[in-house]
């Protein structure tokens, strides 16, 4: 069983249609969720490592602005936005997927970004300027693969036709924009309220 757990994600990478089908209908959901979180953490670690340790030729970073917590936020927030937007749209558009299934499929789609980028963190230290091309090539390859997987994943989870998936993904991206806008609005309002309360409290304290 342990062996299967490790093998499945890699099989899904190369046989996405079969892999996502098994993910949805055949495999244990709890195990899948655990693997999803492992993949997510691995992806975050890859990102942090690559901003810190990728070779100087491909990576100039400002140590003042490097923040591992923000790296986590940069991964988790868009992912959650995607899942929430995906779920809220597909429930209206006859999608069969549940929120957990969407989350699992999205996390599994991240595998190429980990598998390809993690070795490059190490390898990029042995690159010259001309060879850096290979680094960027494989990075874009990983992104394309990821997009393909997420496309197949969405299609399988909701049992959509390819055309419907394309349209849905387009709307999901718009919905993500709305979400970002709303949460910005929400947070700035909360901030204003809290600063208002803090001011009142301060005035109280100073007066009495």
């Amino acid at each position: 069983m342990q062996k299967e757990m490790i093998k499945n994600p890699f099989q899904l990478m190369v046989r996405p249609f079969q892999g996502f089908w098994e993910l949805k209908y055949e495999l244990n959901r709890k195990e899948n969720l655990i693997i999803s979180f492992i993949i997510l953490i691995a992806f975050i670690i890859t990102n942090i490592l690559s901003t810190q340790y990728a070779g100087f030729v491909v990576n100039i970073y400002n140590p003042d602005e490097m923040n591992s917590i923000m790296e986590i936020v940069y991964v988790v927030v868009p992912l959650l936005f995607w899942c929430i937007a995906n779920w809220s749209l597909t429930t209206l558009m006859d999608g069969e997927g549940k929120f957990v299934e969407i989350f699992i499929a999205t996390c599994f789609a991240l595998i190429p970004l980990v598998v390809i980028n993690l070795p490059w963190v190490f390898l990029s230290n042995f690159l010259s300027h001309q060879e850096a091309m290979f680094y960027y090539l494989s990075q874009s390859f990983a992104v394309i693969w990821f997009v393909f997987l997420i496309y197949v994943g969405t299609m399988t989870v909701h049992q959509y036709t390819p055309a419907k998936t394309t349209v849905t993904i387009f709307f999901i991206i718009i919905a993500m924009g709305f979400l970002a806008f709303l949460s910005l609005l929400f947070f700035s309002l909360i901030q204003q309220i809290s600063s208002f309360l803090i001011t009142i409290y301060r005035e109280f304290v100073l007066r009495y």
Binding site: L33, F56, V57, V100
Partner: protein, 484 residues
């Protein structure tokens, strides 16, 4: 399971809200205004730096034993280090010697039967033969005097097909190259500098600034009718504010375009050939208070080896760049203390001195380079001359004085690279965040390491191949045995 997930999500959200309210506060304003001596890092942030120039004295009219300068607007230092000041309000040119003592005044000229005086002259230039060119703005002419202050020629308002009938010739700044061609910055001319031949005939315009078009304005204009369009403001290129010539006769010019090419180096064809290889474009301040706007560069002074300085009248700062466009040092400020200005209008430098002319106060502040500034100047000069060993030694001195001066590390790195010290060179290029040179050093370093360890590595590779082949053969054999 799901319930728990939901709970976790909710608590995360709450945590995020609380976190964000405390975390996201107003970012501290990065004001470079408080430092008079700073430099910009690779990250375009102001970092403190030692002062490169220190004020030593202030020269004004009463000190020189003459009438106070009245709204002077230009100054020029000749090759013999004599300082010529265009004392606009007093209609005269004041000459000081290299010890900053009063030497002479020119308020009228004569020769070839003509004579005359000046009317608010705003520009002055002295050639290597000590010929004096005066932009006699009030009289709409440029006056050319020889070394004995005898009149050679007068450049009057030119007549040409290129000029419109409403054109008025108001020369404000003038510069002359070694071939005797005169470049005049005339008020209200948008086509660049006016170039005059040796005989004083107008030949052409050179180096016009490009028109800056606001995209929204452009869109409006697309939809406007012809009548509306004629009422709108025309898109015209900005005027230059100043010019100077370098040793090779290239024109260095400043304008107030609010673009990336406020400083230009113009060749004979009128093309801008300024090198902008630094961490950012040479535009004066790059991290500034938006409400006060970007630097307003109103004068430029070119030293040797492509080192040039520009004067920002908005904040009273002087920025000095090297030939590649790296910011060497910044000094000066607006204020009332010594070394601060009220309305700086012109800068000049010679040897280790830096002169700043203040228009309203009618005085010149004399700066002398500090050990730090002198070392940078010398290092950049040695580097430009190709004397890399000396440059390396000087750059190392600079790094000891100011660890934040990033481009100094490139200087050290390049010298080390030539000495085949690749690893040390890589370290220095990493300090100066110079990826291209780092890559060069790294390639050489890698080759060196590979060459040294060639036999060992080939040995390892062959052993690994042999072992894996042997292992697979063994496995096949043992499998066959099992089958039969």
């Amino acid at each position: 399971m799901l319930k728990r997930l939901r709970k976790v999500c909710l608590s995360l959200l709450v945590a995020l809200v609380i976190f964000s309210t405390f975390c996201i506060e107003v970012a501290p304003v990065q004001a470079s205004d408080n430092h008079t001596s700073y430099n910009y890092s690779f990250w375009e942030e102001a970092v403190p730096a030692p002062p490169a120039f220190l004020p030593t004295m202030i020269i004004n009219g009463s000190q020189l034993g003459i009438d106070n300068l009245n709204t002077p607007s230009d100054m020029h230092v000749s090759d013999e280090n004599e300082i010529y000041i265009a004392d606009t309000g007093n209609n005269r040119i004041v000459i000081l010697d290299e010890l900053f003592e009063y030497k002479d005044t020119i308020d009228s000229f004569s020769g070839e039967g003509a004579q005359g005086s000046f009317s608010s002259p705003e520009g002055v230039y002295v050639t290597s033969e000590n010929h004096i060119y005066i932009a006699d703005t009030g009289n709409n002419r440029v006056v050319h005097l020889d070394e004995n202050q005898e009149l050679v020629k007068i450049i009057d308002e030119p007549e040409s097909e290129m000029l419109t009938s409403t054109f008025s010739f108001r020369p404000k700044k003038v510069a002359v190259d070694d071939a005797g061609r005169t470049f005049v910055l005339s008020e209200g001319v948008f086509d660049g500098f006016m170039e005059f031949s040796v005989d004083g005939y107008f030949t052409t315009f050179i180096g016009a600034n490009r028109v800056q078009v606001d995209s929204i304005d452009y869109l409006w204009r697309r939809f406007a009718t012809r009548e509306q369009r004629s009422q709108m403001v025309m898109f015209v290129p900005t005027e230059f504010t100043s010019l100077d010539l370098d040793e090779d006769g290239f024109i260095y010019a400043t304008n107030i375009d609010d673009s990336d090419d406020v400083i230009k180096k113009i060749n004979a064809r009128g093309d801008d050939i300024l090198r902008r290889e630094g961490y950012f474009n040479p535009v004066g301040d790059i991290d500034y208070d938006r409400s006060r706007g970007p630097s307003r560069l109103i004068d430029i002074a070119v030293a040797d080896h492509g080192i040039y300085s520009v004067l920002d009248s908005r904040r009273g700062r002087i920025f000095t760049y090297n030939n590649d466009g790296f910011l060497m040092y910044v000094f000066g400020n607006l204020g009332n203390k010594m070394g601060e200005f009220h309305t700086p209008i012109a800068i000049e430098r010679f040897e280790d001195y830096f002169l700043v002319l203040d228009q309203e106060l009618g005085e010149i502040t004399v700066f002398h380079s500090s050990a730090y500034g002198h070392t940078i100047d010398e290092a950049v000069r040695s580097y430009e001359q190709g004397d890399e060993d000396r440059a390396q030694a000087l750059f190392e001195e600079i790094v000891n004085m100011n660890i934040n001066l990033e481009f100094a590390y490139t200087g050290i790195g390049k010298a080390l690279l030539r000495q085949d010290q690749f690893e040390e060179a890589m370290y220095n290029f990493e300090q100066s965040l110079d990826q291209a040179n780092y890559s060069k050093a790294y390639l050489l370093y890698r080759n060196e390491v590979l060459r040294e360890n060639f036999s060992l590595m080939m040995g390892i590779i062959f052993t690994v191949i042999a072992l894996s082949v042997g292992f697979s053969v063994y496995r096949k054999k043992s499998k066959r045995k099992r089958v039969f």
